[in-house]
């Protein structure tokens, strides 16, 4: 098992390097020019060239990339590099890029965790309920709701919620702030809808599939109560793919926060990223995207490892057959 975990972590490294390379290349080709942003449009060509040299922009691409990873020595624009969690200061706000990211990430994590718990707490039981009564009225109702949930544009739902619950009913604030837990309810619910719908459908289909298996018939033939058959025999098998889906949803929720945070003016990493894009704040964009991508990959790795712990078959074969 430990070897498996170690191997998975080692396999992650080239992927992460690739991610940083990709994101860096994208920012490299971006038409906006940080040197010009620093100096304004009327700078002299000499000052402009000096600024480019100071910022390291005159060096070849690969040098700039390596500096981005491992650091750049310069009294003003120097930084320790992404590997050491330092990308220097933002050109625009003059704040340390990672200071901003690290201070806002807990907020995003809070929102995403809350949304994940909510979507599991509602999605999984409803999925089980639907699966035990397939094609019944209640199943149909939830199927339609799940389809709606999976098709809704989250950013629109956010605005509709604000309109009803904040503006019309006045029950909840329209602006959200991690210090005030009541104010997180709206963005959390908004964020969870999509994942909830996905979990609901996956739980239902996974349960239905398991209920058809021979070992469920064996369990019934043993004379076990239907409740025991469902809880002990069906659920455990059905939950294996669900754990994977739920874990992947956590990654999706982290990035989904980007879609909702800005609308609720919630000070998370999504808001920071979108603002940085508006301001063409390259280091901040680079830092936030790389950070979220790394978090996303780590969460997915953790899910994989957890999957191995739950399914006894994986320990030997590395990967179970039920993986989608």
């Amino acid at each position: 098992m430990w070897r498996y975990i170690a191997k998975r972590i080692l396999m992650l490294i080239p992927v992460l390097v690739g991610v940083t390379f990709l994101v860096f290349s994208l920012m490299y080709i971006t038409p906006s020019d940080p040197a010009q942003l620093m100096l304004g449009a009327n700078a002299s060509p000499a000052a402009y060239a000096q600024m480019r040299a100071d910022m390291g922009l005159d060096k070849p691409f690969i040098v700039q990339y390596l500096r981005f990873l491992f650091g750049y020595k310069h009294p003003v624009f120097g930084y320790k590099g992404l590997v050491f969690g330092d990308l220097g200061r933002s050109y625009i706000t003059n704040r340390y890029v990672f200071e901003l990211i690290l201070s806002s990430f807990p907020n995003t994590a809070l929102l995403a965790t809350g949304a994940l718990i909510l979507s599991i707490a509602l999605g999984v039981p409803i999925g089980i309920l639907s699966a035990t009564r397939p094609y019944s009225f209640i199943d149909m109702v939830f199927t339609v709701l799940a389809l709606l949930g999976a098709s809704m544009p989250t950013f629109w739902v956010a605005m509709v919620f604000i309109f009803f619950f904040a503006n019309r009913l006045g029950w909840l604030p329209a602006m959200s702030d991690p210090a005030n837990l009541i104010s997180i309810i709206l963005p959390m619910v908004t964020l969870s809808l999509n994942s909830m719908a996905i979990l609901m459908r996956m739980t239902r289909s996974s349960m239905l599939e398991v209920m058809e298996q021979d070992y469920i018939r064996t369990a019934r033939l043993k004379g076990l109560d239907e409740g025991v058959v469902i809880r002990k025999h069906a659920l455990r098998n059905a939950l294996i793919p669900i754990i994977t889906i739920a874990g992947l949803q956590f990654g999706a929720l982290l990035s989904g926060a980007v879609l909702t945070e800005k609308i609720f003016a919630y000070p998370g990493i999504g808001t920071i990223m979108v603002d940085a894009i508006y301001l063409k704040d390259t280091p901040q964009i680079l830092g936030s995207i790389c950070f979220v991508a790394i978090m996303f990959s780590l969460v997915n790795l953790a899910v994989d490892i957890m999957y191995g712990l739950v399914d006894p078959r994986v320990k030997e074969t590395k990967r179970g057959p039920g993986r989608k």
């Binding site: 080239p14 992927v15 992460l16 690739g18 991610v19 990709l22 994101v23 994208l26 920012m27 080709i29 971006t30 038409p31 389809l147 709606l148 999976a150 098709s151 809704m152 544009p153 989250t154 950013f155 629109w156 739902v157 605005m159 509709v160 604000i162 309109f163 503006n167 289909s205 239905l208 599939e209 990654g251 999706a252 982290l254 990035s255 989904g256 980007v258 879609l259 800005k262 609308i263 990223m273 979108v274 894009i277 508006y278 964009i285 995207i289 979220v292 991508a293 996303f296 990959s297 997915n300």
Partner: protein
């Protein structure tokens, strides 16, 4: 036996077979009422967007008419358009610039559908080619392509689109490119997996023995076998692409106003939620229904094309 014989009799036979298969498929598909209704809706939206100009003049829905701002649905107003005053009834009301919301939704449908279809076609040709190459050639090519795919997949999808548009600048083409690149890994995976399963099966071996060229084998035998999952995935992806287009435009990274697009309509409506909620509902419902229809249709296709693929 005559796998490569394309003589007339064989052609008509295969046409007949396609017709029979289609009949079978249609019987299974039409049993699913939701999917059939979605297909009807999808066709309706497609027709509306193709004939958008018959319903509303493009210049009319992009021109400001401030004195008509925030009309309620059904209200009428006088619009100065093409050098004369026109009495116009705003069926779904007007927005902050006094533009007809229904008209903008109709023209927005055109933008959404074009991006949806073209982006999926881009992604399909890009991902399909790469996936087929990876699966069929194997070896180093496979490793390289799959590494890149892994990298693309380890950036949350919507963030990848955002990053690409942010880097390249917003334009119609960059938006297309961003969505296509983001969708492509899905195709790489499907096509590669199918190619690997199909590649070693006997009929491909048989075709190779008959002297068919590599490319021909790939296209004739392998791609035919993966049509069903690709059709299903593409239908779902059109919905996804429409959703992402609206979101990127909402963030100001896609289609910019005054060009009508559902997402940028919502971005404008956002400022006025309190005063004019009707500007908020119509575009959102348009997105919701369209995406829902493509999702339902995708599910229906999945069940009808390949019962084994269920769920």
């Amino acid at each position: 036996m005559h796998a490569f014989d394309t003589s007339g009799s064989n052609l008509s036979r295969s046409l007949r077979r396609i017709a029979r298969n289609f009949g079978q498929f249609w019987r299974r598909f039409s049993r699913n009422k939701l999917a059939t209704a979605s297909l009807a809706f999808v066709i309706l939206v497609a027709l509306v967007s193709v004939f958008a100009d018959l319903f509303y003049n493009y210049d009319f829905v992009t021109a400001n008419s401030l004195e008509n701002a925030f009309l309620k649905p059904g209200e009428s107003g006088v619009v100065y358009f093409q050098d004369r005053d026109v009495e116009h009834r705003f069926l779904l009301g007007s927005d902050n610039y006094g533009r007809d919301i229904l008209g903008r939704i109709v023209h927005g449908a055109r933008v959404s559908l074009i991006i949806g279809f073209v982006a999926v076609a881009f992604a399909l040709s890009l991902g399909g080619t790469l996936g087929a190459m990876a699966g069929y050639k194997g070896g180093r090519m496979d490793t390289l392509i799959m590494r890149v795919t892994d990298i693309l997949l380890s950036i949350p999808m919507i963030m990848l689109s955002i990053a690409i548009v942010a880097a390249l600048g917003n334009s119609f083409f960059n938006l297309l490119l961003a969505i296509s690149i983001t969708l492509a890994p899905r195709y790489i995976r499907i096509v590669r997996a199918s190619v690997i399963t199909v590649k070693d099966q006997e009929f491909v071996e048989a075709a190779r023995c008959l002297g068919a060229s590599d490319l021909r084998i790939v296209f004739r035998h392998i791609l035919i076998n993966i049509t069903a999952p690709i059709i299903v995935q593409s239908t779902l992806n059109v919905g996804t692409a429409i959703l992402w287009t609206s979101f990127l435009s909402f963030l100001g990274l896609g289609i910019m106003p005054p060009k009508p697009e559902w997402g940028n309509m919502l971005a404008e409506a956002r400022e006025f939620i309190q005063y004019a909620p009707h500007t908020l509902f119509a575009p959102g419902i348009a997105i919701l229904l369209t995406v829902l229809a493509y999702n339902l249709m995708g599910d229906g296709l999945r069940d009808a094309l390949d019962p084994k693929l269920k769920r």
